[in-house]
């Protein structure tokens, strides 16, 4: 079936006359695949377009498939020689070299133990290769990446919720942050790391985030207000 932007699409549908830019280039995002001369849809969702020639399908998923350039939250599960094996929730564990930390040399090894939580960036992620993580950017600076401090709480949620709360339009993290001081690391793999001063605040923020999956914008703002008031009342 031929579909247009904004339609609900199912696998097997074909995009009707997609726009290309001046050089005849068409950029296909997640959920789309090129099949001979047509653009085939491979996941169910809503077809979106940005600019003139960028298309993708907004779909709901829980399982993460590694994508190059994503920042993810992972747990160090193993250490084999010079690399750490990190569980990021995908089909294969990712590898993280000990040299991929700021200021790390062969003599000066980073202090990473099994069970540590790391916030890293995917350097290499293709279907045929093992995913590779780094905790440093191309200038050698760590920025926000690296081992996350102790005392935090990790929880998982669906990938569409992650994209929702990271969107600049969503006010949730700002509103919660204006009253409750917290530290958060949002991984594109569906894992979030949260650290606040007390257990009550952690539970309150976790519940607020998980409930936001099914709410509209104005409802999210009032949910945040409710949570903040409840905490103050305690």
């Amino acid at each position: 079936m031929e579909v247009n932007v904004g339609d609900v699409v199912l696998p097997g549908d074909v995009i009707q006359a997609p726009n290309t830019n001046d050089k005849g280039k068409l950029i296909l995002g997640p959920g789309l695949c090129r099949h001979m001369d047509e653009v085939l849809i491979t996941t169910s969702g809503v077809l979106r377009k940005k600019g003139r020639n960028v298309y993708w399908v907004d779909s709901h998923r829980k399982r993460y498939v590694p994508v190059k350039g994503d920042t993810v939250v992972g747990v160090v599960v193993n250490r084999s020689g010079d690399t750490f094996k990190v569980d990021i929730g995908s089909s294969e564990q990712a590898s993280l070299s000990y040299l991929a930390f700021e200021g790390a040399t062969k003599k000066n090894r980073p202090d990473v133990q099994i069970g540590d939580i790391v916030f890293a960036k995917l350097l290499e992620a293709s279907r045929d290769l093992e995913p590779e993580l780094v905790c440093v950017d191309s200038y050698g600076k760590k920025g926000k990446l690296g081992v996350l401090p102790e005392g935090g709480f990790i929880f998982t949620c669906s990938l569409n919720l992650i994209r929702k709360i990271l969107n600049p339009k969503c006010q949730m993290l700002k509103i919660l942050g204006s009253e409750i001081p917290y530290d958060i690391a949002v991984g594109m793999n569906g894992k979030l790391w949260l650290k606040t001063k007390s257990i009550k605040e952690t539970i309150a923020i976790v519940n607020a985030i998980l409930t936001a999956e099914h709410l509209q914008h104005h409802e999210i703002a009032s949910l945040c207000d409710d949570v903040i008031n409840a905490l103050k009342g305690m």
Binding site: G12, H214, L215
Partner: protein, 229 residues
């Protein structure tokens, strides 16, 4: 959880009802009923694969079928094989090499047309999980009774008076036959007639899938800030 119900029409399928995302731990799940036949399906994948099942160029698809009572028997294994082969063809398995995709089907109630119900439920669970597929699949069952009438999607009461029962699985693009399972005796003409009737019936199932996905995204669409056109 997303619910959807369709009422049946004359000479057509039994009313269908579906709930997606019923299980919290699986990557995709669906509870699907056709009339009184009910099935729950869960999908896990693309996940870690055991070394003996690893395939270097594609995902290893496995299907498990669990009957309501007792241990799985030979005809349950047959259902597993049919579901696995159908889903392997429908999924883009080359996109996820060295992984495994598991489809687990649990029978809740059998009131006729169980194989068709299981295949449709598996397809809905795969839609819910978001794993890349080339097309969708729909299964329709029919029977031929002793007066040589062809009945689409019979229930267990009607099946008691049947001399043959056929189940066809179609793909969503060209409506070609993907799988076919028959029992009993019938002529070639009866086979072709049943095939035609079932193919028409499969249109209803594909539009049901579209409606379900529309409902799922409508609820989220109003609130999702990622709308950009």
């Amino acid at each position: 959880m997303y619910k959807m119900q369709i009422e049946s029409e004359e000479d057509c399928l039994r009313p269908m009802n579906c709930q997606l995302n019923v299980l919290s731990r699986s990557d995709g799940s669906a509870m699907f009923t056709q009339g009184d036949t009910a099935v729950v399906t869960a999908v896990f994948g693309p996940a870690e694969v055991k070394p003996q099942r690893i395939l270097i160029d594609k995902a290893s698809v496995e299907a498990l079928y669990r009957p309501k009572t007792g241990l799985p028997r030979v005809h349950d294994k047959m259902r597993e094989t049919l579901i696995r082969n159908t889903c392997s063809t429908a999924l883009l398995v080359t996109l996820h090499p060295r992984t495994s995709i598991s489809i687990i089907v649990q029978e809740m109630q059998d009131s006729g047309g169980l194989l068709a119900c299981a295949v449709n439920a598996a397809c809905l669970a795969l839609i819910n999980s978001g794993i890349a597929m080339k097309f969708l699949v729909a299964a329709v069952s029919c029977m031929i009774d002793h007066e040589d009438n062809i009945l689409i999607d019979p229930n267990s009461k009607q099946l008691k008076g049947s001399k043959a029962s056929l189940t066809f699985v179609f793909d969503s693009i060209k409506k070609n036959i993907m799988a076919c399972h028959t029992t009993g005796r019938f002529t070639q003409l009866q086979y072709e007639e049943s095939l035609l009737k079932c193919r028409n019936g499969s249109d209803k199932i594909f539009s049901f899938y579209r409606e379900i996905v529309r409902k799922v995204h409508q609820e989220h669409d109003r609130m999702s800030p990622t709308c950009r056109t």
